[in-house]
């Protein structure tokens, strides 16, 4: 376990060092984040005229959802895209062999090898937006609520990671036949609005099949005191199922890789 911690420290240390090699990149990324967030807010404001509500959500409540969406978008930029996006490169260039020959879990390596700090400001902004929206909606933060929100955000992160990893793992077979990350980005983007803003069939799809609801709407409901215990339990259960599926699928994919690669 200590070896994994030490490796993680080294992984992220080198990741930051790599980013700093290209100073201009950092500035460009920051500007891009600011532009993208203002665009999202403008779009959201169009739905909400003065005093109007969307699917039972007020403007300030919807900002909590938008805030959490921004957090996950930043997380995708910082963590998921650089790591899981490079699995396909490893397969195509044959450098997956180096990963598989290290005495460390290959899923651990591929999932946590690097970090792109560019998404961090977005995560902070998102948290700020969610906090402001909650405050404006008259929410008073309690310790229990904070713990539940953090737990649900972690559940959401685990679901998103597992889905992303599942799709990235198929590159063992398909190498670069389709751009999986873009599909997931689009899926995540549908989490920008409260679930109730969508028609009923999409609501079912986004809750159970592709659990976008658990990424943004459910944590927002916790903040706003709308969430029910069974819903939270479903979220935890789904996260466990998706993570187990991702893990088992990776083991299966590796068996295929090692019996077929040349």
């Amino acid at each position: 376990m200590r070896r994994y911690w030490r490796s993680l420290r080294r992984f992220w240390g080198t990741a930051f060092a790599t980013q700093l090699e290209y100073q201009a990149n950092v500035v460009i990324e920051l500007v891009a984040v600011a532009l993208s967030l203002s665009g999202s807010l403008l779009l959201l404001s169009l739905f909400f005229g003065p005093g109007r509500a969307l699917g039972g959500w007020t403007w300030h409540q919807a900002l909590v959802v938008q805030g959490f969406y921004t957090v996950f978008d930043g997380m995708a930029t910082t963590w998921l895209r650089p790591n899981l996006g490079s699995i396909v490169t490893h397969v195509r260039e044959g450098t997956l062999d180096f990963v598989l020959l290290k005495p460390i879990d290959s899923q651990f390596w591929l999932s946590l090898r690097t970090l792109a700090p560019a998404g961090l400001p977005e995560m902070v902004l998102g948290m700020g937006l969610a906090a402001w929206g909650a405050h404006q909606s008259g929410v008073v933060l309690t310790a229990a609520m904070a713990i539940t929100v953090v737990a649900m955000l972690m559940v959401a992160a685990l679901i998103l990671y597992s889905l992303w990893f599942l799709i990235a793992a198929t590159s063992i077979w398909f190498v670069k036949t389709w751009n999986a990350t873009e599909v997931l980005r689009a899926l995540l983007a549908s989490g920008r609005y409260p679930l109730e803003a969508y028609p009923a069939p999409l609501r079912v799809l986004f809750t159970l099949v592709l659990p976008v609801a658990f990424l943004t709407t459910v944590p927002a409901e916790v903040v706003l005191g709308k969430a029910s215990t069974p819903l939270l339990a479903t979220g935890v259960g789904l996260a466990a199922v998706f993570f187990t599926a991702a893990r088992s699928f990776w083991i299966f994919a590796l068996r295929h890789y090692t019996s077929a690669s040349s």
Partner: protein, 325 residues
């Protein structure tokens, strides 16, 4: 024995697709595959500390065999054992005992100095910082690497990069080294330095080395024993000179005469390769060598005589080029 392979085989199933749109459509509707045998019934054993050259043309099955020995590919049939482990299980203890260097691929982080990649490897292999620093110093000395370790990898020359790759691959002191074309693309000087390093390393640590290379100079300088794989089958396992005598059973006799002699004069004295005024090249079977040389000295006015093996890289090059034995 540190490496044993018994009846090792690997068969790939590949798609059989005709070119063009019709072929693509047919392939989509009714997928036809065929089995391609990359390695067939290969057996050998390598003792600890040996340096063995692994030869074969492109596509002969070298890399497939190497990957089966590393545990990256499951064999279709046969048994492999490396450092007391079944490679395909990729047990962490096994992975700590081996290393793979691929001349065409790199594990060092492109944008950072090699030292950063080395620290990552040290953490992953669980090597304490103090021990890692000492090993890096020692290996860097042997490899003649200094300031290069703190310069971004992308700014290093190919030769410096390969040496840094070797350092990264050897940091965990593996017992078995699988080297796939480690000198690929290097200039003559860099090649010889890498060769020298590998010889030193083998002497110092007693590590076992299995080396593939297209440069015969690597093999002749480093490997007393050679495995030659051809069309998936093991064609030769033994000293390099025995391989040469198998490929070209005749010896080369070069003569320099005082006076020109007509070609007919050499009838019955081996096969005449070339005759240019006073310079003569003959090919002679080894069992007739002494008789032929005695007759040559007896019949002609010889200024100089030289007996040699045909050049090994020419022989093997011709073998790969012809694609048959």
């Amino acid at each position: 024995m540190v490496i044993t392979a018994e009846g090792l085989s690997k068969t790939y199933r590949v798609a059989d697709k005709q070119p063009g749109f019709v072929g693509t459509l047919q392939h989509f509707l009714r997928r036809r595959t065929r089995d391609v045998s990359a390695v067939q019934d290969v057996s050998f054993a390598i003792a600890p500390g040996e340096m063995v050259g692994f030869l074969g043309a492109n596509g002969a099955g070298k890399t497939t065999t190497l990957k089966m020995l590393c545990g990256l590919i499951h064999p279709s049939a046969g048994r492999v054992s490396v450092a007391g482990h079944q490679p395909q299980r990729r047990h962490p203890d096994f992975l700590r005992r081996i290393t793979l260097v691929m001349g065409q691929k790199q594990q060092l982080l492109w944008d950072l100095p090699p030292l950063d990649s080395l620290r990552v490897n040290a953490a992953v292999y669980g090597i304490p910082d103090g021990v890692a620093s000492r090993r890096i110093r020692e290996l860097a000395d042997l490899l003649e690497l200094g300031a290069e370790l703190t310069r971004p990898v992308r700014k290093l020359s190919l030769g410096q990069r390969m040496k840094a790759e070797l350092l990264a691959a050897l940091l965990h002191e593996p017992q078995v080294l699988f080297l796939d074309e480690p000198t690929l693309g290097l200039d003559v000087n860099a090649q010889s330095r890498v060769r020298q390093f590998l010889a030193d390393y083998n002497r110092r640590t007693g590590a076992t080395v299995l080396l593939t290379s297209h440069y015969m100079a690597d093999i002749t300088a480093l490997c007393p024993r050679v495995l030659l794989i051809h069309q998936g089958q093991l064609f030769h396992d033994g000293p390099l000179n025995r391989l040469v005598s198998r490929l070209a059973p005749e010896r080369l006799v070069r003569l320099e005469l005082e006076q020109p002699v007509p070609a007919e004069a050499f009838a019955g004295l081996g096969q005449l390769d070339s005759l240019e005024t006073c310079a003569v090249n003959l090919r002679v079977a080894p069992d007739q060598l002494t008789t032929v040389v005695a007759q040559l000295l007896d019949r002609f006015d010889v200024r100089d005589l030289e007996i040699s093996d045909p050049p090994v890289d020419q022989l093997i090059g011709a073998l790969f080029h012809q694609g048959r034995l």
